[in-house]
Subunit: 217 residues, 2 copies
């Protein structure tokens, strides 16, 4: 299986890389901290999120293998959101300074980085549409479909089945819902034969109907 260290396709003169692992539920990056490294996720899932003063959190995005821990980290030493591992995680670390140097030398790498950044932005925009205008069922259906597409694009889904390590709490924190309501919706999906979840594996049983739900208001 691809290791995803090479997403940026740095070519012959590859940069020094260090691999690092994190246990599930660890803080990979804490909001406001300064870092000198850029992480690429090789294996496992993570999430970027913001914690509010009352303890609730909003997940901004889920990160899967092949994702950079935010393109912004390449240009800014510190971010206003945190990143936490959702599963055990394997990352490939690059030095920011070295990567930036590479950018000026190799415009192809810069292009690839810009493309990653724009993909992040487009996902964020679609999240805004979900949160602003869709009801709970459509939001969750969209999340599932979007994750499936992203996993497929990286060769991490076989047919309509894929690893799905998310807890209902995390789905709620991403889609602006409570765990109770996420549970209601997921069970409705199950009872209607749209999906099946067992042992952290998601299987989509009725794709066209799930798409229909995702397009409801």
């Amino acid at each position: 299986m691809a290791s995803f260290c090479g997403v940026l396709d740095l070519g012959q003169s590859a940069l020094r890389q260090v691999h690092q692992t994190y246990r599930a539920r660890r803080i990979v990056y804490r909001a406001g901290d300064e870092t000198e490294d850029i992480d690429v996720i090789c294996d496992g899932w993570a999430a970027s999120s913001v914690r509010l003063s009352d303890g609730r959190q909003q997940i901004l995005s889920f990160l899967i293998p092949g994702d950079l821990v935010s393109v912004a980290t390449v240009f800014e030493k510190s971010q206003f959101y945190s990143v936490q591992s959702l599963t055990d995680l394997r990352c490939c670390k690059f030095s920011r300074a070295e990567l930036q140097k590479k950018l000026t030398e190799n415009p192809k790498v810069f292009e690839r980085l810009v493309a990653c950044g724009m993909a992040e932005k487009q996902l964020a925009d679609q999240t805004i549409v979900s949160l602003g205008r869709r009801n709970a069922a459509a939001r969750i259906a969209r999340l599932i479909l979007s994750l499936m597409e992203r996993l497929k694009a990286r060769g991490l889904a076989h047919g309509q089945s894929f690893d799905f390590p998310l807890r209902q709490q995390q789905i709620g924190d991403a889609m602006g819902l409570t765990t109770v309501h996420v549970s209601r919706v997921i069970n409705m999906f199950r009872k209607e034969g749209l999906i099946e979840i067992a042992q952290r594996q998601m299987k989509i049983l009725n794709l066209s109907e799930l798409r229909r739900v995702a397009d409801e208001r």
Copy 2:
């Protein structure tokens, strides 16, 4: 007053630019269309938005003088969202091809463009937090404060007063609320002496209290 044509600071070898005006409520860019130009807003407000199949729309962001009509347009010919003028608009148009050429020649310009892109992303992330975790009053308070900060940074606010051409419908379309509910909240703000709106001018009367409301759940 600054014209904002120079946001990208293209320097001596300035690009050919064309100025264009739009009346209020016109489509500046239609989702999916291919364009060869990049617009910088010199005067007036616009909004990028997505229209759903049932006619409702979600506004992704408000664009004010000095904003690019999305950094993404520099790299991608077509976008999945539209841009509409909210007021009469003056824009400065650059050719994408020429601008891209300039990018490879002048890394400073590239940096500035990346910085614009990251600012867009950060605004989008903050919108996600608002929509996901804040109630109507906090969302609207945050929108007002965020717009004030952005206008101030461009020298377009005098003290706590600034142009505010948004209709309640547009506030609702941006913050995932109905016009009725926007009206309820705005009137509450008025009655509590937080803000004053008259003739498309917003004045913040009690900044600290408005900030407090913005930080409530």
